[in-house]
């Protein structure tokens, strides 16, 4: 990877950190299109419990990873919601970049020129 590309990737990651770490706190808290459709037909009370009606979410089951320290886009143990959401977003960007770039690097095409430059 040449230096100019490195700068571009770095700048892109910085934008992603800002979006996931800061702007995410200003995102809408309303159910998204899918979730709203899944809730369509039921009446909910203030505590978000189903009072009456028939809808998809009645059949919803718990998530296997509900105990993950990053579950529901927060960091376990951090009380401040803004900090918790923001830091979980930054962690997610880092992890996704790590897995993505690492994985793609491993399966990339290695022609002769690339093979000479490869670190291993």
């Amino acid at each position: 990877m040449n230096r100019k590309l490195g700068w571009f990737i770095g700048a892109g990651l910085l934008v992603a950190f800002l979006l996931a770490g800061v702007v995410s706190n200003f995102a809408s808290g309303s159910p998204d299109g899918l979730d709203a459709t899944a809730r369509d037909g039921c009446v909910f009370n203030a505590a978000d419990e189903i009072v009456s009606g028939t809808c998809m979410v009645q059949q919803e089951q718990a998530h296997q990873m509900a105990d993950s320290p990053l579950a529901d886009y927060g960091i376990e143990g951090i009380e401040n919601e803004y900090l918790s959401t923001g830091l979980s977003g930054i962690a997610g960007v880092l992890i996704t970049f790590g897995i993505g770039a690492g994985g793609f690097w491993l399966v990339r095409r290695r022609d002769q020129k690339a093979a000479e430059e490869a670190p291993t």
Partner: protein
């Protein structure tokens, strides 16, 4: 503020149908890895990592589309334009797997359903539109932005119907399918417009700064030659 869960949860679609889609998604992703190798060079690999990370970040940004209803980017069209269809589908899948395993968003049982809709159907629909539009429209950043907007709207709406298909096969509550289809399509056209604005802004920016990093500008603009076919 809490970011809500935003993908299909466990239990909405029956277990057997969920398993069928896990097998289907795994098979398609295996083909994507195989095809992606031809595209992935030393330059595209880190770029693809960035695209995945960027999609993760933007998926956290739910925007209001109706009173009480929000939407977020799915990312298929954006990924197709920047890194191509095969690598793009893998980028979106990476995001969905990270969200499922670490952020408890999108059920583990439902992972095949979510990958099928957003990474496979969404990316495939976006790809078909992008290929067609890039050939017709002028090769300018603005035209690429228009391509991203139109392809995003179609891609997101088509992806939403993937859920309707899955619900027809294994929905766990007896509900009217035409009603689900209409509700999903209607709200996802609006979400697609939001996604299109984000995708269009992003690709215009990259096309101005580093046009050489835009896959759609490098690969889709010329008619396919024998040589390109051989490496594709």
């Amino acid at each position: 503020m809490d970011v809500r869960a935003m993908h299909i949860s466990n239990g909405i679609i029956s277990g057997p149908v969920s398993v069928v889609f896990i097998v289907f998604a795994a098979a398609v992703l295996a083909v994507c890895v195989w095809k992606a190798r031809a595209d992935l060079d030393d330059r595209l690999a880190p770029m693809a990592g960035l695209v995945a990370a960027f999609i993760f970040a933007v998926q956290m940004l739910n925007f209001q589309v109706l009173p009480g209803v929000s939407g977020h980017l799915l990312g298929g069209t954006l990924a197709v334009i920047l890194v191509g269809p095969w690598v793009g589908a893998l980028c979106v899948s990476t995001v969905l797997i990270v969200q499922c395993l670490l952020f408890a968003d999108g059920g583990l049982t439902a992972i095949g359903l979510n990958i099928t809709n957003m990474a496979i159907i969404g990316t495939a629909a976006g790809y078909l539109l992008v290929v067609a539009l890039v050939k017709i429209l002028p090769k300018t950043p603005a035209a690429l932005g228009a391509t991203a907007l139109i392809a995003s709207i179609v891609s997101v709406t088509v992806a939403s119907q993937g859920f309707v298909l899955e619900y027809a096969l294994g929905g766990t509550t007896d509900l009217s399918l035409p009603a689900i289809s209409g509700t999903m399509a209607g709200v996802h056209v609006l979400i697609g417009i939001g996604e299109g604005i984000i995708a269009s802004t992003t690709v215009i920016t990259v096309a101005k700064v580093r046009p050489d990093l835009v896959y759609a500008l490098r690969r889709f603009r010329r008619p396919v030659t024998i040589e390109a076919e051989a490496t594709a």
